[in-house]
Amino acid sequence: MNQILVGRGVCKYFGGLKAVDQVDFHLDEGEILGLIGPNGAGKTTLFSVAAGSIPATKGTVWLEGKPVSGKSAYRSVHLGITRTHQIVRPFARLTVLENVLVGHYYGRPQGVSGVAQDRAMGILDFIGLADRAQRLPGELTLAGRKRLEVARALATGPKVLLLDEVVAGLNPVESRRVVQLIRQIRERGLSIIVIEHVMHALMSLSDRVMVLDHGRKIAEGKPEEVANDPAVIEAYLGREEDGKG
Amino acid sequence: MDQALSLTISAVLLAGFYAAMAYGLGLIYGVLRVVNLAHGGLIMASAYVTWQLFSRFRIDPYLAIPIVLVVFFGVGVAMYKGLVRFLPRGAAGGVQSLLLLFGVWLVIRNAAYLLYSGDDQAVRTSYSTASVRILGSSFSVNRVVVFVIALLALLGLHVFLQKTFLGKATRAVAQNPDSCTLVGVDVERIYTLTFGIGAALAGLAGLLASTLFAFNPAFGAGEVLKSFVIIVLGGMGSVVGIALGALVLAFAEVFSIYFVPSYLTAAVGFVLLVVVLIVRPAGLFGQRELV
């Protein structure tokens, strides 16, 4: 199996706080990797490091053999790894279509082929927002805004997509649709890492699951294996329930 | 050697004034996230008020401190209630507050031009020319008195913020206004209070400045800039931070005469600001990120 994204000894310290501590991970091409862990485990931080939003304190992340962990966010996007945000960050004064166009125009240094408008509308169609292309993000529901976040990320033409809690906060119907969507994105040839607290969604979606706790990797393997791993159970139940999943 | 010592004392004295000047700006920014560009205007207005109290009513500037503090506290409260509280909170309001208060500064400046001429003024008391000997060098009495007053003010602020309930509430609001609302702190009242104190401090700084420097309606731009340099250097988290920042700036300015012609001393602050911002965006002592 071709490993498209690899991380070795990744650390991110904020002063004394070890948000991510000596994490090794890999993502196979075409794989969906689930990333779970209690709140504050360091999942989003790991995303931020992998996507270049913040620099790693130690360790390296490689995308297709090329290091990405030291680069600024936009360069990582150009190399082919894009992340979404846990709390969505649409460009509020641009329409849905324009938000996607930003991803399209700026996602790759040499530009992406095809007429901008057509490709953007195609992505919106795939995502299910085509009918709201001229709306502002503020006019969308939360589900809509989450989809917009994903659409915009897709427009950058990534090889690896990091999805941060796209399902959280959605009702069961919407969740099912988003899970379907993620599968379809994988079918388009992308490799995906998914952070999720909604357990059934994540378990049904992932080929493999990785568990973080207090910044360290405590388990990795098939969803069923991880779900029954005592260390994982303790990590979740050994502290207050967060009520999700 | 003698000169170095003299300069050092000079720098320390200056730092006291700078710290008092910067604190008003830093407090307002720290708690409200608002950049009070009218700070310069308030300092200038206070200098004029002090001058008027002295030349019209024969009130010694240092004795006028209580009057000025109260008056400018009121001005601050009025500014908050009348203008600032309508702005959106947080990062979104940053530039808007900047421009709004800049507008206020322009109005204050114009008022000064209308009431007084554009000429330089200064407060000259009977003891203005007297001097005091410290460790072998002479310093103007005013400079020493200003230093002492500034120190007292900063101490008072420190005690207020650390020991009183209102002070602690203020610090809490600076950290997390939403949580404060949840525990019953009247955040609006704290904002009003903070703005009032910030303005009062600006008033104090203006009063002190009037005894040290000549001033005219354009006075204040340099002071705002220096205040900002100090905040960036030392952070607005504590009185100690501001004091340290003030010391760094004062020393840099005073000792820069060895390297740079005197008319460029004012530029030293700016260079320091840019260098620190580029090299250590978290400020010299590692507080909050400014970028």
């Binding site: 939003s53 966010a73 936009y74 996007v77 894009t82 992340r83 945000h85 960050r89 649409p90 460009f91 509020a92 004064r93 641009l94 329409t95 324009e98 166009l101 930003v102 991803g103 125009y105 700026y106 996602g107 790759r108 502002l136 503020g138 006019e139 915009r152 950058t156 | 950049v35 203008l83 959106p88 990062a91 979104a92 309001g93 940053g94 530039v95 808007q96 900047l98 421009l99 709004l100 507008g103 206020v104 322009l106 109005v107 400046r109 114009n110 209308l114 731009a221 705002v224 800039l225 340099v229 012609p261 460029l264 004012a266 530029a267 602050g269 700016f270 840019v274 911002l277 580029i278 970028v291």
Partner: protein
């Protein structure tokens, strides 16, 4: 961006309005009898409109408010003046070189400071402006110190002809403004202004684009400085680099309507008119008046005069296209709650609405 027939950044209506406006202004002095004084003031106004629009690229499009643009105005002016005096170059060349020098200077201090956001950048620019003024005033060999520089009469353009040169500069700047706003660069700039981190996360090289805009802005303002030098046939550093001059650019753009194209242009006109009127009757009131206007704009009408016009137009039934997003100073976080922010885009000086 919603039109599919013309180049993305050009709409037929805007182009027509623009060319019409340009032609009218070009021909006006030739067919109407405008007094000499008014004619000259109009020429100067064209320059200020261009400068305000250029300031707006940085302040309104990117969202970084500069309080130090007089630094570029002065650098452009003095470099142009010095070149004209020393080498007897054509004034266009002198202005151009002055402008480029100003642009490079802008990059020098701007590149490291642009990564500061919001108020921090603004404060840093106050420092830049003031430091530049200090250095320039005392660098007497170059700027003439407090006595300034005089340009010999007879060399260089007449005040009369400056009307048209100002108009050309303005035309170029308006075209550039429109292109910047409507092209894909415009989208990127709005993204940067809304949320610079999220913009980076979708591949926007914020540093490069901010630098680019600052360079363009500084260059244009520098050219305007050269124009001003020719217009007055005299410049001095206290005036060219003054804080008041920097303030002027901000006032024009913000009171007129930050982020729009019509706004800074209108703001400049109002600015010059107030200046001319007040100077005669109440010379001391202009600062306070501007301050008041600024306060009113921030509190009540973030899009300034342009915003007011838009409201009136809306009342009359006109609906602007929800196309490219608006100006305004507030950033996205306040816009996602409640009412969506109004979207407005305006063409050149001839028109009054979106296309």
């Amino acid at each position: 961006m919603s039109s599919l027939r013309l180049p993305a950044w050009l709409s037929a209506r805007a182009l027509v309005l623009f060319v019409a406006g340009l032609t009218m202004l070009y021909a006006a002095p030739l067919v109407l009898s405008i007094g000499d004084y008014t004619h000259n003031v109009m020429g100067l106004t064209f320059m200020f409109m261009a400068a305000a629009l250029a300031w707006n690229w940085l302040g309104g499009y990117v969202g970084q408010i500069s309080f130090g643009h007089s630094a570029m105005f002065g650098v452009g002016g003095f470099v142009a003046a010095r070149l004209a005096l020393a080498l007897e170059l054509s004034f266009w060349t002198a202005w151009f070189v002055g402008g480029l020098t100003a642009g490079v200077y802008a990059l020098l201090w701007g590149h490291p400071t642009l990564r500061l956001r919001g108020p921090y950048f603004a404060i840093a620019t106050i420092g830049v402006g003031e430091a530049t003024r200090l250095i320039a005033t005392y660098w007497a060999e170059f700027t003439g110190g407090s006595s300034g520089l005089s340009l010999p009469i007879g060399q260089g353009p007449t005040k009369y002809s400056l009307y048209w040169y100002g108009l050309y500069i303005l035309a170029g700047v308006v075209a550039l403004s429109y292109w910047l706003r409507r092209s894909r660069i415009g989208l990127g700039l709005i993204a940067i202004k809304e949320d610079v981190e999220a913009a980076g996360d979708v591949g926007v090289n914020a540093t490069f684009y901010q630098d680019l805009v600052l360079f363009l802005s500084g260059t244009v303002v520098g050219v305007c400085g050269g124009f001003y030098a020719s217009y007055q046939a005299f410049i001095d550093p206290q005036d060219m680099f003054s804080f008041d001059r920097s303030i002027g650019f901000i006032l024009m753009a913000v009171i007129g309507g930050i982020g729009t194209i019509l706004g800074p242009a209108l703001g400049a006109i109002v600015f010059v008119m107030i200046q001319e009127f007040l100077l005669a009757t109440y010379p001391q009131l202009y600062l306070g008046l501007y301050g008041l206007l600024l306060i009113l704009v921030i509190l009540f009408e973030p899009l300034g005069i342009a915003g007011l016009l838009l409201r009136i137009a809306r009342r009359l039934g006109y609906r602007p296209a929800a196309g490219v997003a608006a100006g305004g100073i507030a950033s996205s976080s306040s816009a996602t709650e409640g009412e969506p922010e109004p979207v407005l885009e305006s063409p050149g000086p001839g028109g009054g609405g979106a296309a």
